[in-house]
Symmetry: C2
């Protein structure tokens, strides 16, 4: 079984209270792929970059067992660039600059052998582009996960709602869940959003953990309290990568196993924020993943 990952591969420039980076490699699909690679060696990437994108970063993805044959490289064009500055609390940020570049006309063309992927991860992108991916699948995937953000709710709600009808799991943050449902209570919001299509909803709350809703059940996963959060960029995407990676690895999409997947997602997010950009994920070892997992078990287990 394989995972098809569609999303941005990009340059980021990030400023946090801990420092500042020049242009570094980022993008939702990059983080998702790296995080998922700790669980799966059947990763297929569909994205687009310009010819300014470094060859060794593509090689880094290949080294993590990512099939990059669906990564379009546009000659004479520039890679998507995002620049942002985090506030002191690390929970909010300002976008300093966005240069869509190749992303402006991104047409996600799936290589023929990607079209029967059993797991599909639609990273944060224009909803109509996410839908274009869905339309190309020759077989309905076993599980479709979609990530989105408030920007698309503000600007393309109708397209987003169309895409939501065709997916299984939606991952958004708490503010986005409130915006999408127009309900403040996350329990009520979850019910409304599930009626829009997704059978399951993951609400990511950053340092406050994550909630999973589905089958009239709820699960609350902690976030690991960290001494230092260096850079939150990519945490949600790393979460998504760990989440879908674990599901593909086990082939089990029951609610019980979705709970475990949320924990694995939280594990990967907890690493992501420890260094700037993809640095921590790209150097991570399987042993570190295992021992971090044990920390999560200790953190949240109790006897009554």
């Amino acid at each position: 079984m394989s995972i098809l990952i569609v999303g941005t591969v990009a340059f980021d420039a990030i400023e946090t209270p801990f420092g500042k980076t020049d242009k570094i490699v980022g993008g939702a699909a990059t983080y998702i792929s790296l995080a998922a690679s700790f669980f799966s060696n059947k990763l297929r990437l569909v994205s687009v970059v310009g010819d300014d994108f470094p060859k060794d970063s593509i090689q880094m993805l290949k080294d993590h067992k990512v099939d990059t044959s669906g990564l379009q490289i546009k000659e004479g064009e520039k890679t998507f660039f995002w620049s942002g500055k985090y506030h002191n609390d690390m929970n909010s940020r300002d976008t300093v600059d966005t240069q869509l570049n190749v992303l402006e006309n991104f047409d996600p063309i799936l290589p023929e052998d990607f079209k029967d992927s059993e797991f599909l991860m639609l990273g944060n992108l224009v909803p109509s582009v996410q839908q274009k991916v869905l339309d190309q699948m020759t077989k309905r995937p076993k599980l479709i996960v979609l990530d989105t953000m408030n920007f698309w709710m503000d600007n393309c709600m109708s397209d987003l709602k169309t895409a939501l009808k065709n997916i299984d799991v939606l991952t958004i943050n708490d503010e986005e869940a409130r915006q999408l449902s127009e309900e403040y209570s996350l329990v009520k919001a979850a019910k409304i959003i599930q009626k829009m299509g997704p059978k399951y909803l993951v609400i990511k709350k950053g340092e406050h953990g994550a909630l999973l809703f589905g089958e009239e059940k709820m699960f609350f996963a902690p976030a690991l309290p960290l001494e230092n959060v260096f850079d939150p960029t990519g945490a949600g995407d790393s979460f998504a990568g760990g989440f879908i990676g674990h599901l593909q690895k086990t082939g089990d999409i029951t609610f019980e196993n979705l709970k475990s997947a949320v924990i694995y997602g939280s594990v990967m997010a907890s690493f992501c924020v420890e260094k700037f950009g993809t640095e921590r994920l790209s150097e991570l070892t399987n042993n570190e993943v295992s021992s971090r997992l044990e920390e999560f078990v200790k953190l949240s287990s109790f006897k009554i």
Copy 2:
């Protein structure tokens, strides 16, 4: 074994997006006592009210097995009154009115037979008053829990730091932990606060759950996501009541059992917010507590 509870018994007038109350009975010690009464029948209350305080509310406390012989009733004086209005997100509130009344000169006089209580819960009060209670104990309690708030950090930090030297568990919220430690990271904050005296620290995060720190370990307890939060008043005190109630009931103050106590505290807080004031706690049954506890277990258990 018994629990000595010291704190305010008060009138509150509360406005939330769901409605508004006239003067109703509130106060930290009221909520703590009610919540603890589901675990312990050895509750001793020290507080002060005016002669305007309703006799049937004192009877209600007695009905919950609270020994009210330490409740001073000041003839010709008025009970402490607080009035507040919650914002739409229920996480923040404005104080509309505070009338200290009897609280202004509150001298917490412990009845002789209260002075050897094995568990001591110092509800949110002027730190010097909390210290006066500590000074009267003839035997060092097995466990001393202190609750406080940002107001005392702003105005009596030195007195607060003196009291902190003599206690075992401090319960505060995340913003207060940051203020007290001058550290944003809660992990770092916890280390600094533990050096001030308390061996254990509970950081209450409202709808985001609670963190327990101690013995170089961490525990993350979820909050139960609720459809409706009617009134957050008293949630932290209900938490404290469930927390110390469970510890006294079991007589076990190991870290493992403190974790369970945090869950019991969260259970009691989850009830408190379902109705205005003490209404929900005063009508609550043991069966409801047991089944809510099961909900918490389901909410946070997973298999890896």
